[in-house]
Amino acid sequence: MTAALGACGGGSDGPAATGDASNVEGVDDGTTLTLWTRAPLEAQANLLVDAYNASHDNQVELTVVPNDDYVAKVGAAAGSGDLPDLFAADVVYLPNWTSAGLFSDITERIGNLDYADQINPAVLDAGTYEDQQYVLPFVLDLSVMFYNKDLYREAGLDPEQGPTTLTEFRDQALAVQALNKPDTYGTYFGGNCGGCGVFTWFPMLWASGEEVLEDDGTTANLASDTAQDVYGIWRDLEDAGAIAPGAADETGATWTAAFQEGQIGVMPYPATLLQTADETVDVGVTAIPGIDGGTSTFVGGDGLGISKDSDTPDQAWNFMQWLMSEDAQVEVLAANNVTPARADFLDNSYATDPRVQLINEVSTAADSQTPIALNFQQAFNAVGSPWSTLFRNQVFGDASTLEADNEAITEALQQ
């Protein structure tokens, strides 16, 4: 395999085949297409692929790769020219992957869609490099605030009214903690998980009107007064003992577990888990607020693109444009409680639960974003990243290192 890497490594001769970009619907001629995604999206990917295969001559073969191996697997395949026809990428890695030329340019194809302006702009922006577009949204994963209505009732809080400011979030968490019930805590977070912090804390800053990154993702802005207020909220909760034990060691593997076991009062949470959490807990949902109000979400999940190595881009595009259709967005995704990636489908026949409506609305709220930076993984998501050093110091350690910690993130962004 390594020998193949050497032989083909330098070959960046562009896509294997360009196809006919003016063909809006692509080609459905019974071609077998390959599609890779990572394990956290397995359920949604299976639903989409099954629905497509049942209604088309083209057949998609899905390969699901363990989350931690995905980057390595895509990297090896990219080097040897063996990428599948279609593959998904975590939105925060998109700038890095598009700049490395892993995807085919689909600017013209997207431009030909008459509903192009309805597609979730945050994901489209993340998949745009040097004015060329490379991906469409595959599955959205949004962050919202979940709270346990039963615990709210016990604590004398209004079970129909979650926090609308971060101050309320803190006070409500403290009220649940004050119940002094065994195995019951105010809140929880992935204290040793950079990705969790990005997913749940960035919206708090955006909702407070603060930007996280500046200069096209090469400078970190995480030492501002607003940022310090946000860290201060968590520090207060930590000092009061209102964060469930284990938060400081939480690497992200089990950060959603305690809430589902009914042990947590209120915490930022992935919206895709609403159904799962609802089985064990009476879940209340509200948007993630800023210090004095506002709402925001981290528009996460994956973008899907046609790889540079695909020999059948027109057939691959047939899947991509179907993915944006009502059949996929409403009948598959919305029917399974995933937020549609098209604004005109947000209000659909499946969105009867007011909590689902709230989640759908926040996906296109003005302050909802996908952060864009070339070296995002290194600076934020990687184990032991400078970002995780920063927020760990702010919550558990010596908070006076903030400026230096922020500087370290900028350094990683500029590497």
């Binding site: 330098g10 980057v71 990219a78 490395a100 034990p245 284990g246």
Partner: protein, 319 residues
């Protein structure tokens, strides 16, 4: 080795007939040499395909600008090496790996020796005890790490219930929460997993010590401690040396247990050198060239260390 020994003596033994015999001996020697080469060939082939070739490829990668996504973009030496050594986590990782290696080796071999001495005598329970010491070795390191991950989890750990019940600690203990605790918790896992294996190696060594040496010592009136220090330890030296080499090399290359248990945390305090290689290649910088450069450095360090250990071992034998 074997062929030179067997060919040398005959000529000196029967000197007069040397001219007549010589061709026959040489032919036989040649045949033997060929036979030897044939025996060695499969191993050599495996070594070339699975070690020499990969090392050459890694070496080539280490002097190239080789991104995970971009492939080979030409020469980039010595920048790969200087960048790898300048990494903010390089020296902490070296220091931590050495610390972990020393701690693990001392505890593991000490405990394994004690266990071997306990189960050496064939008593009523020795078979049972031996088996129970060995059982953890049947579990893969990754599975064992996952098991301990659950045991150490603040939410699921049964230890915490015990601690609370006995009144030792009211609050749940965070086993991986501080750098020291993370280190010792991982050492506990590794000792649990490997002690039985090293016990077995040492047991074989112990049982190869002839009984009459002990009998002689007893007749001379040696105490138990004297027997252990003057007889058991010196005669066990080859086994101990083997275990040390295995344990040191294994610990220096530690990866799975930290990858699963601590992910290098908290705050990068338990990043081993191999983890650093992994994260350079696949977690963020996605730079195979730099990761390969670091691998070469580690390989060099290991070769030197093993050479020193082997030299020490040979020196002992001569003495």
């Amino acid at each position: 080795m074997a062929t030179t020994h067997s060919t040398a003596p005959p000529p000196t033994e029967d000197g007069p007939r040397r001219p007549a015999v010589r061709p026959r001996v040489t032919r036989r020697a040649r045949a033997r040499r060929r036979q030897g080469a044939l025996y060695a060939a499969p191993t050599a082939l495996f070594l070339i395909v699975f070690f020499v070739v990969p090392v050459i490829l890694v070496f080539r990668m280490s002097v190239s600008d080789w991104g995970l996504f971009t492939g080979d973009l030409g020469l980039n030496a010595p920048e790969n090496f200087t960048k790898a050594l300048d990494d903010r986590l390089f020296w902490p990782a070296v220091w931590f790996t050495l610390k972990y290696t020393v701690v693990t080796t001392v505890i593991l071999l000490g405990l394994a020796l004690a266990m071997a001495l306990v189960v050496q005598e064939s008593g009523r329970w020795s078979a049972f005890v031996r088996t129970s010491f060995l059982v953890p070795s049947a579990l893969g390191l990754a599975s064992a790490s996952l098991l301990f991950y659950a045991l150490y989890s603040p939410q699921a750990s049964p230890f915490n219930a015990v601690l609370e019940w006995t009144g030792i600690s009211e609050d749940p203990v965070s086993f991986l929460g501080s750098p020291d605790r993370a280190l010792w918790s991982t050492v506990a896992l590794v000792v649990w997993r490997f002690a039985g294996f090293y016990m077995l190696l040492l047991l074989v060594g112990l049982q190869s010590i002839p009984g009459d040496v002990y009998e002689a010592a007893r007749l001379d009136g040696a105490s138990a401690l004297q027997t252990f220090r003057r007889i058991t330890l010196p005669l066990l030296k080859p086994s101990l040396a083997l275990c040390t080499i295995l344990c040191v090399t294994g610990s220096l290359l530690a990866f799975d247990q930290f990858y699963i248990l601590t992910k290098g945390g908290p705050d990068n305090s338990t990043v081993t050198i191999v983890q650093l290689v992994y994260s350079m290649a696949f977690q963020g910088s996605n730079d195979l060239g730099r990761a390969a450069a670091l691998s070469i450095v580690v390989l060099g360090g290991l070769i030197v260390l093993n050479a020193v250990q082997f030299l020490g071992l040979r020196g002992d034998k001569d003495a």
